[in-house]
């Protein structure tokens, strides 16, 4: 039992077994985000293929396995349908973490940086890295939305295009969020497993939900 508590490593509190490790809103956000973000990614790559950012029509195309929509129009339909689910999910979660003050203790803080610099506990260090990485997804997602609005409605939001210099730079940054999200997904999964073991991973997906 003691070992399990150490593994889930929520810093100092010992939670009774009856209380779920993750709050229900966090689980809902995580599920909706994972699915809508995957839809955004796959339909976005379908759109990318109409005229690859790098090299234009002669450029390298993404293999069909990773695409959603069948062709450009289908990819756009998926992209501009999923954008509502994806961005509104992020919005309510943002409000939720502000209202519940969850942002104060669930995201990276000075204590994590301190643990990495002067800490002696290797598990605490892994946990600090885990928090740094999962906090990083929020600026990545916000950047994807910001650059996406600039490409979707450049006539209404020309200043967004201007922020990045020109249209090509805007496309590159919007596209760059794809590898960033993929790198995040890999690092986040591995660190979650390392920091909290199977129990933590379970707790975010299906524990107490079935």
């Amino acid at each position: 039992m003691l070992q399990i508590v150490a593994m889930d490593s929520a810093p100092t509190q010992i939670q009774p077994r009856t209380k779920p490790l993750q709050a229900l809103p966090a689980k809902i956000f995580h599920w909706v985000n994972a699915i809508s973000l995957t839809t955004m990614l796959m339909s976005g790559l379908q759109i990318y293929n109409a005229n690859p950012v790098f090299g234009g029509r002669e450029g390298w195309h993404i293999p069909p396995f990773f695409l959603l929509g069948g062709w450009l129009a289908g990819g756009r339909h998926w992209h501009f349908a999923a954008m509502w689910v994806f961005s509104l999910n992020l919005l309510w979660y943002g409000i939720y973490i502000l209202v519940t003050r969850r942002w104060k203790h669930r995201f990276v803080g000075a204590n994590d940086l301190k643990a990495l610099q002067v800490g002696k506990n290797p598990k605490r260090k892994v946990y600090a890295w885990h928090r740094i990485v999962y906090t990083s997804i929020f600026p990545i997602l916000l950047l994807a939305i910001f650059t996406g609005i600039g490409m979707y409605k450049p006539a209404q939001f020309p200043w967004i295009v201007d922020c990045f210099g020109d249209w090509f730079a805007l496309r590159v940054v919007h596209f760059a969020t794809v590898p960033l999200v993929l790198l995040f997904a890999i690092a986040h999964s591995l660190l979650a497993l390392k920091a909290g073991g199977e129990r933590m991973v379970n707790s975010m997906f299906w524990e107490d939900m079935l």
Binding site: L72, L193, E198
Partner: protein
């Protein structure tokens, strides 16, 4: 204790399999639902997206233009669905008909004497590329004003010599930067770019910007055929 993992091998094959399951679960899920929801994605949210686009459109506010030094002459890709029609500019007439009090048939000399609008704008293609181009021509609002639209007119069809067809909401047609261009980057409009007359506007995607426009028909209701690409699944409003 019974539902906790065996502590002796936390990174077992089972765990790794499960981890890969998490990564690919979303993909599989969308793959399966794709066949069920294929057309639903567009149909369900297009009305919502169109409302957003109509709400964002400022019908009489010009989009900021660029200096002539920003023009990218090589960036404009020639996209045509079929062939390039040959049009005799002397015999050419632009017809404006439908829900108007004063149907018109104008030759190029008359059109070029009308108020001219020149603008350097970003031309954005649905494929994702964009080009900064100078267009010069007559505002569509001037042509429609001359034809005196009836109050019931709500949409305009643009019919092209290559049988390409498009329909627009009237507010976007009357935007001060929606023009029928006969000039590109300071030169007479090349035939592959739509000479003698083509639509140019910063507020619509490129597939709305018909080349070789010969007829504008105002209507009160959209027909079943709304546009060449729209009828194959592209979004109709296509506002920027």
């Amino acid at each position: 204790m019974s539902d906790t993992p065996p502590a002796d091998h936390p990174l077992s094959r089972r765990n790794l399999l499960r981890l890969s399951g998490y990564s690919f679960g979303g993909m599989l899920l969308t793959g399966v639902s794709f066949t069920l929801l294929e057309s639903l994605a567009g149909k369900a949210t297009e009305p919502l997206n169109q409302s957003l686009e109509e709400w964002l459109l400022k019908p009489q506010t010009p989009v900021p233009e660029f200096p002539a030094s920003a023009i990218e002459p090589e960036a404009l890709i020639v996209n045509t669905y079929g062939y390039t029609p040959e049009i005799d500019p002397i015999a050419f007439r632009l017809t404006i008909d439908g829900e108007v009090e004063n149907p018109l048939s104008l030759d190029m000399a008359t059109i070029q004497q009308m108020p001219k609008k020149s603008m350097v704008i970003r031309h954005v293609c649905v494929e994702g590329w964009a080009a900064i181009v100078q267009w010069g021509g007559v505002p569509v609002s001037e042509l429609i004003k001359l034809a005196q639209p009836k109050p019931e007119a709500r949409y305009a069809y643009f019919l092209s010599a290559d049988r390409y067809y498009e329909s627009w909401d009237l507010a976007s047609c009357l935007h001060p930067q929606t023009i029928l261009a006969y000039e590109k980057n300071g030169e007479p409009l090349p035939v592959e770019n739509g000479a003698p007359l083509r639509l140019a506007s910063p507020i619509k995607l490129g597939y709305k910007l018909s080349k070789w426009v010969g007829q504008i028909t105002l209507v009160s209701e959209l027909r079943s055929r709304r546009g060449f690409w729209e009828d194959q699944g592209y979004e109709w409003f296509a506002g920027l």
